[in-house]
């Protein structure tokens, strides 16, 4: 029986993302079980809460591995939890861990005995993508406010490099600490009255910043990253103020079968697919684990790890999330498959990273609309 | 019917009895003094009767009504006022505020009551806006007693009202206590200034190790050679 641990922030700062990721994970498991399960048995998901804190995150991870006996872990979300879990639990116990959300470049070179993977691209890529979107939107100067953590800083740095290399001007940059009641001082510092604001962060405080930016007349146009792609922001602040704002998100080409399958399946199970990130990435992570178990013909963690790359054989038969039964059969017959996921092709490289594609989205009439999906040209 | 009476009290802290079979009685218009060595349980007796130390067995009656183990804050509205041995003023409040708080349980204007206290302690009137915490030892005792008098009590309980006062102020204080008593207020006090206190008192009790040792009129106790030898310092 294949048991997969879901290590998610169900309380604490990233709680909102944890809950939606959980849906993605459960969805994948349901589909797989509906398609006959793994090695003849239904797979199960064990959920554990990191509280968005490393201390309780590692404890929860160890419990998943030792007590619940999971063969692989999906999670965690923030790099500050993912990395300690990798170095103190996954790498030590020899259990593969796939994060659907951690974007820190540190993970690329981490000494993880090759047990740490991720289904979302590193910040370095998204920064470049963001600069491209800025150029597409005709922005030649921007001000930046970013959340003062590894995610915000990584993106801000990568963006600034690419943007300035392309001749753009950054008129002001300010990191912000989460949880404050007023960001008006920072806003008036970075604003030059005209340039749009690149806001890198999460809705929890991002909404406050946006609101104060609009109300104070500091900014009218905005550029966002994946973290801020959240419908509640539009809902809470009013579409008319945000229409025309743009952003990026790691996203597969939504014209692919896999992406369409995912959207439909999600909507059938949970209602409308919220435009928040890390659902499809978590979903894909479960799929690759299940496929790897089938390929290995074992639920042994190390065997699964060894086959994670094998389910993405470029010469193999292309399979998508809807085709689990077929994929299992192919693998059972000793044939190679190439998994094409909801979030992209999910080809783990030597470091366990994936190169991603990104969507350029805009808000139109209060809706998130994908303008195009592209691969950043580094 | 006595103003206050304690019958066969057993009381103490955390399960250990300090008071054992204690009997006390104060009649209306009487000054009663308790003396005894350090740690005899004098303060404990006062606190027990005032509801600050739990009574394990025995009865306390006030004008015949049983008030055993009633909460301290209710005693005041019955007409009993108590001045503790230590920490007996509100240090950061002014004299006037201290006095006003004394009458907390009473309705109606405080003006006339305060005037009466000022008549007894004219010095408080001079210092009425001073913070009680920085007054000298003697002035503090006046504030404490003034505060107690603000409720227009029928019984005043004083724990060592003259400790730390200068000889002159001790005289004055006993003078005042007699004056208060003459207004019809019963007084129960603990004193180490035993000779003077007994001289001023109608009756006295000698306590030792939580038990009654002697009970008699003030002059009789003063004249008792055993009492003098053991408790008055020869």
């Amino acid at each position: 029986e294949l048991k997969v641990g879901a290590l998610l922030p169900l309380t604490g700062d990233l709680q909102a993302y944890g809950e939606s990721s959980r849906n993605g994970i459960n969805l994948a498991a349901e589909e797989i079980n509906a398609a006959g399960g793994v090695l003849g048995e239904p797979m199960t998901i064990e959920i554990a809460d990191t509280q968005t804190e490393p201390q309780s995150g590692v404890d929860a991870a160890q419990r998943l591995v030792s007590v619940q006996g999971v063969s692989a872990i999906v999670g965690a979300l923030s790099s500050g939890v993912t990395i300690p879990v990798a170095s103190s639990v996954s790498a030590v116990e020899g259990v593969p861990q796939i994060s659907g959300a951690s974007t820190s470049p540190v993970m690329t070179d981490l000494d993880d005995n090759d047990f740490l993977f991720r289904t979302t691209p590193s910040d370095a890529f998204q920064g470049t993508a963001l600069a491209e979107v800025a150029a597409d939107e005709g922005m030649d100067s921007v001000a930046i406010m970013y959340i003062n953590n590894d995610y915000g800083e990584g993106l801000a740095d990568a963006f600034t490099d690419s943007f300035e290399a392309a001749g753009g001007e950054v008129v002001g940059t300010s990191a912000y600490e989460p949880g404050l009641a007023s960001y008006r001082g920072e806003l008036s510092q970075v604003s030059d009255g005209e340039s749009p604001l690149l806001l890198i962060g999460y809705p929890e405080n991002g909404q406050t910043i946006l609101r104060q930016a609009l109300e104070g007349g500091h900014f009218r146009n905005f550029l966002f990253t994946d973290g801020m792609k959240s419908p509640q922001i539009v809902e809470n602040l009013g579409a008319q103020y945000l229409n025309g704002s743009a952003g990026t998100v790691p996203q597969a080409r939504d014209d692919t079968d896999a992406a369409q399958h995912f959207t439909e399946a999600y909507e059938a199970s949970f209602g409308e697919l919220p435009p928040v990130p890390y659902i499809d990435t978590a979903y894909d992570a479960v799929y690759t684990i299940a496929l790897a178990a089938v390929a290995a013909d074992s639920t042994d963690p190390v065997a699964i790890r060894d086959h994670l790359r094998a389910v993405n054989d470029p010469d193999g038969e292309p399979v998508g999330p809807g085709d689990f039964a077929e994929a299992a059969e192919l693998l059972g017959n000793g044939q190679a498959v190439n998994y094409e996921g909801a979030s992209g092709s999910v080809n783990y490289d030597d470091n366990g990273d994936v190169a991603g594609t990104f969507a350029h989205w805009e808000i139109e009439d209060g809706e998130y609309v994908t303008v195009r999906v592209f691969e950043p040209s580094m | 019917m006595s103003l206050l009476s304690a019958e066969a009290l057993y009381a103490g802290y955390g399960g250990v009895d300090i008071l054992r079979d204690l009997h006390l009685r104060v009649e209306a218009d009487e000054i009663v003094v308790i003396i005894g060595p350090n740690g005899a349980g004098k303060s404990t007796a006062m606190k027990a009767m005032f509801g600050l130390v739990p009574i394990r067995s025995g009865q306390v009656r006030y004008r015949g009504e049983a008030i055993t183990n009633r909460p301290a804050e209710r005693m005041v509205s019955r007409g009993i006022a108590y001045v503790p041995q230590e920490a007996n003023v509100f240090p950061s409040l002014s004299v006037v505020e201290n006095l006003e708080l004394g009458a907390y349980v009473l309705r109606g204007p405080n003006g006339p009551r305060m005037e009466r206290v000022f008549e007894i302690f004219p010095r408080l009137k001079e210092r009425r806006h001073q913070q009680a915490g920085v007054m000298s030892g003697g002035e503090r005792q006046m504030v404490a007693m003034g505060r107690a008098l603000m409720v227009e009590p029928t019984l005043l309980m004083l724990d060592e009202p003259t400790a730390g006062l200068s000889p002159r102020l001790i005289d004055e204080t006993f003078e005042r206590i007699r004056g208060i008593n003459q207004l019809g207020i019963g007084v129960l006090m603990v004193e180490q200034n035993a000779r003077q206190a007994l001289a001023a008192a109608d009756r006295g009790y000698v306590l030792a190790t939580g038990e009654n040792r002697y009970e008699d009129t003030g002059p009789a106790l003063l004249a008792n050679p055993e009492v003098a030898e053991m408790f008055l310092g020869g």
């Binding site: - | 000298s136 002035e139 006062l165 000889p167 408790f231 310092g233």
Partner: protein, 261 residues
């Protein structure tokens, strides 16, 4: 032994001590009396280093000690008690005394770690000393009681006991008798006399009990309104009209405390 020279101290607008000078001679038991609020305790606090004077100098054996912190004065042999007892309320009576002796090896943490047996041995001696003091003060039965649970008078005794745990040269006692039973007070006076005679302690005593002052102290300083108004032996002072007016009171009842005995 202690020379006080023109010490002044004000609190806000109140001049608590004004230009007071006097000397406590080595080997004497000097009394300090005066009405409530005269500034006696303030003066003690200044001598003991707990309060800084606005002006003036304090000398101990000719050496200027003005403004030295309390604990340094302690090591020069100057100890004080407080008017309101300052016990260590959550420690036992014994421990209250055992804190006092100076230069305990075990007060050095590293030393305690490395030489535990020696520290224990030393502590045993201190314990014996503490028990002796407690027996002397007749509170030996309370040795394992928490000091916070003592009665008001017992705390005063404990305070005095602490001064007996040192090789003090000069001891400042702030109202050792207030709240202490008269019988015990007599014994206390014996103790002070003995320490003075046998061990050569110098005392300076604030006290409102004139019996005690008359029995122990010579000379006696009288303060009023922050100033030194008189000094001399008690018999002389009783005849001083200024002192009677300010302090002793004129009424006969002032003697009911039993001067006669």
């Amino acid at each position: 032994m202690i020379e006080i020279e023109r010490i002044s101290r004000a609190f806000g607008g109140l001049q608590a001590v004004r230009s007071v000078s006097f000397t406590v001679a080595e080997g004497s038991v000097t009394g300090l009396i005066g009405p409530n609020g005269a500034g006696k305790s303030t003066l003690f606090s200044i001598i003991a280093g707990a309060l800084a004077p606005d002006s003036g100098v304090v000398r101990l054996r000719g050496e200027d000690i003005t403004g030295l912190p309390t604990h340094q004065l302690f090591h020069q042999g100057l100890v004080r008690t407080f008017q309101i007892p300052h016990e260590f309320s959550r420690m036992t009576v014994r421990e209250n005394l055992m804190v006092v002796p100076a230069h305990q090896r075990g007060e050095n943490l590293i030393h305690s770690w490395l030489r535990w047996p020696r520290v224990i041995e030393e502590d045993r001696a201190i314990l014996r000393q503490a028990d002796e003091v407690l027996d002397f003060l007749e509170i030996g039965h309370l040795r394992n009681e928490l000091a916070g649970n003592l009665s008001g008078g017992q705390k005063k005794l404990l305070d005095l006991g602490r001064t007996m745990m040192t090789d003090a040269k000069a001891v400042l006692l702030d109202e050792p008798g207030a709240g202490v039973n008269r019988t015990l007070l007599g014994k206390l006076a014996d103790a002070i006399e003995r320490l003075n005679r046998e061990r050569g302690y110098t005392f300076c005593v604030i006290e409102h009990d004139m019996d005690l002052i008359a029995r122990l102290c010579d000379p006696v300083m009288v303060m009023a309104n922050g100033e030194l108004i008189a000094e001399g032996d008690m018999a002389t002072l009783r005849r001083n009209p200024q002192v009677r007016e300010a302090y002793l009171g004129t009424g006969v009842s002032g003697n009911a405390g039993g001067v006669a005995s």
